[in-house]
Amino acid sequence: MAKGIWIFAEHRDGKIKKVTLELLSAGRKLAKETGEEVSALLFGKGVSGLASTLAEYGADKVYLADDDMLAQYTTDAYSKALSDLIMEKEPSLLLIGCTVLGRDLAARVAQKVKTCLMSDCTGVELSGGQLVFVRPVYAGKAFVKAVCPELKPVMATVRPNVLIADEPRAGRGAEVVNVAVYLEKTDLRQVIKEVVMQISTRPELTEANIIVSGGRGMKGPENYKILEELADVLGAAVGASRAAVDSGWIPQSFQVGQTGKTVSPALYIACGISGSTMHLAGMSSSKCIVAINKDPEADIFKVADYGIVGDLFEVVPLLTEECKKLLAS
């Protein structure tokens, strides 16, 4: 008898992450076919208030581990608490968002409970009674469909923005189960000395619905202002190619690509980016790609849905104005 679909609930600043909501919806769809229960795992300190959101997005049950030792994410604390719970309840599937936290946690837990882990999935489906995972390999230049038939739970991290979160059902409830946490101070070897957050009103790159990205064609750090203006009109995040990062125009954390972040926004606007395979590795799963480049032969036009051949310094500000007008109307 199958024992349930589990979704690890990631949250930050008192809000459930979008990818968790996407996973809850995916979990519900699978549950419809398997008849299993969907449970969300809510770990932290003082986070019980988030359970209702998880319920509204599809959790039948919320396992709540509320503990001082879980106040901050550390690999040791979270992986132990999570693997203890898995060994006790033996779920059949565990989905975790493929975020920095999710990746760190999932691999460690998978080894603790001696199971397989499909990383960075872009699809999960039930086919012939088997869970089939789709994941990119070679930086998205190919994909593999894979299964893990022997071990339980099957674990996967799923890329943000590739699944769609259903609308929440207001008033939907879930059973909240308090989870005992068996952590000793000696279990925790990581000490977090300092956390530095970039203060930004823009969405986080990997979660953003729209990204405005600039490459070597930006010519200098001061010019990112024109991208920021467009981004702010669209509620978008700003990204960059490696060439721009390596020139010191914008911090590494903005880099999209093979050695940068992997993003899957609804819209990716590439300005002054040539479209090298290493850049495409990070953004080719964007749903709609727009390229603004003065070179009509640039490779970016091979992946773009829409393109403007022109000088970005002329086009981008005009685009900002047009979008502003359109969004105001």
């Binding site: 691999a107 593999v144 469909k145 000395k193 590494q252 290493m278 829409y306 403007i308 022109g310 685009l319």
Partner: protein, 257 residues
């Protein structure tokens, strides 16, 4: 300080990926390189050795040609290489790779384990972490700066929207992210010396493992290439018209804004 570095040989990041007649990834004619993130790990090990003294051992599990990537690491300045290579390892998954590597490390003494945070081929970012768990080591992942003092590692790691500084006792696993350093190129002298450095090749049985223990748990059903994207629609006209038209398309056709 004794530093162990896990490394993997991967396809050149510029390689064009195609499928062979059996629907597997075509390996013929593809240039092989050190996984770029592992190169950051090797470089960091060399810098730590330069600062604190000690020895750098690079370790890999892979096909025989992996030795080329390892020779490059030796040419950069690593002291020793250990390669586990065995026909039975073909098609092995992260679980198996971690078991093999942890057996090698179990027979070594080391203060620090470095690796790239992910490999650019399978992108799974699991093997090093699984090794750390098998050996009971703490981990700090996706690190952009590292200092070692008083048997502790202090590392800055990327988190979403910022970074954090984490301290762990040694021995620990640290995985490298771009930004940690700029890997050096091997010198001619380094390349000559590399050939004389200790290079150990091990089979599974020499590690006390058999094929059944490393049988893959993850089974690939099929590989496929991404669907070609529809041809780009160039928005015609001078900049003002084009900008207006693009805006309209994004709202009315693509329905994104």
């Amino acid at each position: 300080m004794r530093i162990a570095v896990l490394m993997k040989q991967t396809f050149d990041t510029a390689a064009i990926i195609s499928l062979d007649a059996n629907g597997q990834i075509e390996r013929q004619g593809v240039n092989l390189i050190i996984n770029p993130y592992d190169e950051f790990a090797v470089e960091e090990a060399l810098r730590l050795k330069e600062k604190h003294g000690g020895e750098v051992t690079v370790i890999s599990a892979g096909a025989p040609e992996t030795q080329d990537a390892m020779l490059q690491a030796l040419a950069m300045g690593a002291d020793k290489a250990i390669l586990v290579t065995d026909d039975n390892m073909a098609g092995s998954d992260e679980y198996a790779a971690a078991l093999v590597l942890s057996k090698v490390l179990g027979g070594l003494e080391f203060d620090l384990l470095l690796a790239g945070w992910r490999a650019v081929d399978d992108g799974s970012a699991q093997v090093a972490v699984r090794v750390a768990e098998l050996l009971g080591l703490p981990q700090v992942n996706v690190v952009t700066s590292l200092t070692i003092e008083d048997a502790k590692a202090v590392a800055t790691r990327d988190i979403e929207g910022g970074s954090e500084v984490v301290e762990v006792p040694l021995p620990a696993l640290i995985t490298a992210q771009k930004g940690l350093n700029e890997p050096r190129y091997p010198t001619m002298r380094g390349i000559m010396q590399a050939k004389k450095k200790p290079f150990q090749k091990l089979s599974l049985s020499e590690l006390g493992l058999d094929a059944a223990q490393i049988a893959p748990k993850v089974k690939a059903i099929s590989y496929f290439l991404p669907a070609p994207r529809a041809a780009c629609k160039l928005v015609p006209g001078e900049a003002p018209e084009a900008a207006r038209e693009l805006c309209r398309i994004l709202r009315e056709t693509a329905k994104i804004i």
